[in-house]
Amino acid sequence: MRTIFYLIRKEFIQIFRDKFMGRAIFGVPIVQMLLLVPAVTFEINNVKLCIIDRDMTTESRELVNRLEGSTFFKVRFSTFSEQEANNLLHRGKCDLVLQIPSGFGKETGKGNPGRILVSVNAINAVNAQLSWAYLSGVIRDYNMNIVAENIGSATLASFPQIQVDNRYWYNELLNYKYYMLPGVLGILVLAIGFIFAGLNLVKEKESGTIEQINVTPVKKYHFIIAKMVPFLVIGLIDVAIGLIIGKLTFNIPFEGSIALLFLGSALFLVAVLGFALFLSTFSSTQQQFMFTAFFFIIIFVLMSGVFTPLDSMPIWAQKFDLINPAAYVMRINRMVMLKGSTFHDISREIYSLIVIAIVFTALAVNRYRKTA
């Protein structure tokens, strides 16, 4: 045990003597939090509209005004040429073209159905669907108005109809930052732990110092544990920094237990560090390690459900996520912070992480050879 202590102390001395490391360890979480949390968002604002209003009646103006009044839409262009509108769509100057043919006002005024044409830029399918959904919402409202005007609002109110009032749970204002911050916290810890720990071990190989350690009676697991502990501590400090930033700048809610969140992050870190050290035994240079690390970090992050819901991934991807520690920590972070989940609620995630952490660490200890 004393040996482990001395090994860990040595790692800490080295980490803090390295000026770059010292800065990166505390600078990276601050910058990532401040940059990524507000930047990475699926909220749709400012959908650029192009209007072709061939009708030019009060009715068509009313529709356009309603669109302009919504926060989602910005009417950027008005034209009478369909060709020009399509051109704008093609060049990405607008996201959506709304055509109101002449006779729209006349028909609706007569009590006949009015027809409009909407073309949506669907390069980004999510954006396209959402802008269409917003637009159809506006049109539905407008529709109700026409109906009310035609038959009188008192008569309309006497029709039986379903009134929907919805409430969003866990994130009532649908604040995207609340959703992203717990996720970014996970990515942050993943990247820092993975890269620093792996590079640290490969550096010992590159500089030959590992050779001198290998002839000492230091046990394999001593060595691996001593490589993990400093980065575990640093990772948890980064989580704390991230949470403080979240509270101070984004006023993020924290419903659950902080201890539970740290437990989840600690287990996640052990799993990540174990895997990083395992990988580093295959690399003989820091470049090699960086490349493999990059490869795995991208897979872990994109498949973790931080950006896209796990449930909509193909089955094989969901199966893969059973061994993806990032997938568990995303759920733990979000559930604990936004939902106030208790240990009982996330026990499956916690136990899975424990198993993954043990397996990855065992792999690392096993792969690390003191003799060739």
Binding site: Q14, G208, T209, V215
Partner: protein, 306 residues
């Protein structure tokens, strides 16, 4: 005398490269045993085998009475290894490195200070300096201190003096001599022939095979011919001329002279005339004692012919 290392029939291959083939030797307690050979001869591979960092493909290697493969755990407590490349933490200070290696071996600097005091006293004034900022000679002293800090029975030094200035080299060998008082057996490799003379016994190693093992003095005596030292002002021209002379067997530059062997172990006036004809005058020829380098070159020559 107890055997500290007993190697029999050791071979090691890396892919298609035969690094060591059928190596056998013994090292006795308290010896300074040198391995002399050119780069790529297999010295480092052999040392890494002894240091339990590699496993031999064939043969049996016993170190300190333990099998190097099955007894590696016990062995590592009792050997000190100084790799050819400086392998201490460059970002730790002199003191921190020494303390670190002491604690890793479960001891303290204080406990074995008497063993390293001679060596460490040279670098103690710089104990706060980072190891990476030390000069070559100081690095080497620190590495030796760290390799000795747990009072090993066997010290393995892989080219400890490569890249170190002449004064530091001489100092270093002085320190090794002193370590014998503590009954530490030392194996050392070096590409410098003059250092071979400072060992108790020497193994000449080339292309993975041992050519000869003996006391350095005996190795010198093994030289089979009469050796002549030839001197002339223009050394390069002299070598060319001597190589073309029909009576010459071997010609090797040696310091400011040229070491030459002749057919029948003698030369006559025709050599002076020959050299004169080539425009070389003021030639001085004396019989000389063969050095260990001469013998090594002779053995190498035989090895490549055979």
């Amino acid at each position: 005398m107890q055997k500290i290392i007993e190697a029999s029939g050791i071979s090691k291959k890396f892919g298609d490269t035969q690094a060591l083939k059928d190596i056998s030797f013994e090292v006795s307690e308290g010896e300074i045993f040198g391995f002399i050979g050119p780069d790529g001869a297999g010295k480092t591979t052999l040392f890494r085998l002894i240091a339990t960092l590699l496993i031999p493909d064939e043969g049996k290697l016993e170190v300190l009475g333990l099998d190097s493969v099955s007894g590696f755990r016990e062995l590592r407590k009792n050997i000190g290894y100084m790799p050819g490349r400086f392998s201490l933490y460059q970002d730790l200070s002199v003191e921190e490195n020494l303390n670190f290696y002491a604690t890793v071996f479960g001891t303290t600097v204080k406990e074995n200070y008497d063993l390293i005091s001679d060596i460490y006293s040279h670098i103690e004034p710089f104990r706060k300096r980072l190891a990476g900022k030390l000069s070559g000679g100081m690095k080497q002293k620190l590495a030796l201190s760290c390799a000795l800090i747990h009072k090993p029975d066997l010290l393995i030094l892989d080219e400890p003096t490569t890249g170190v200035d002449a004064v530091s080299r001489a100092e270093f060998w002085g320190m090794l001599r002193k370590l014998r008082q503590h009954n530490i057996t030392i194996i050392v490799s070096t590409p410098y022939m003059d250092e071979a003379m400072k060992c108790d016994r020497v193994a000449l190693i080339q292309e993975g095979s041992i050519l000869s093992i003996n006391q350095p003095e005996k190795i010198r005596e093994g030289f089979s011919r009469k050796l002549f030292s030839v001197k002339a002002p223009e050394k390069y021209k002299l070598i060319i001329a001597l190589r073309s002379y029909p009576g010459t067997i071997t010609t090797y530059p040696f310091g400011d002279s040229v070491h030459v062997t002749f057919r029948g172990d003698e030369f006559n006036n025709s050599l002076y005339e020959y050299l004169n004809g080539m425009g070389i005058s003021n030639v001085e020829i004396n019989e000389t004692r063969a050095g260990i380098e001469d013998r090594f070159l002779e053995l190498m020559e035989k090895g490549t012919k055979a």
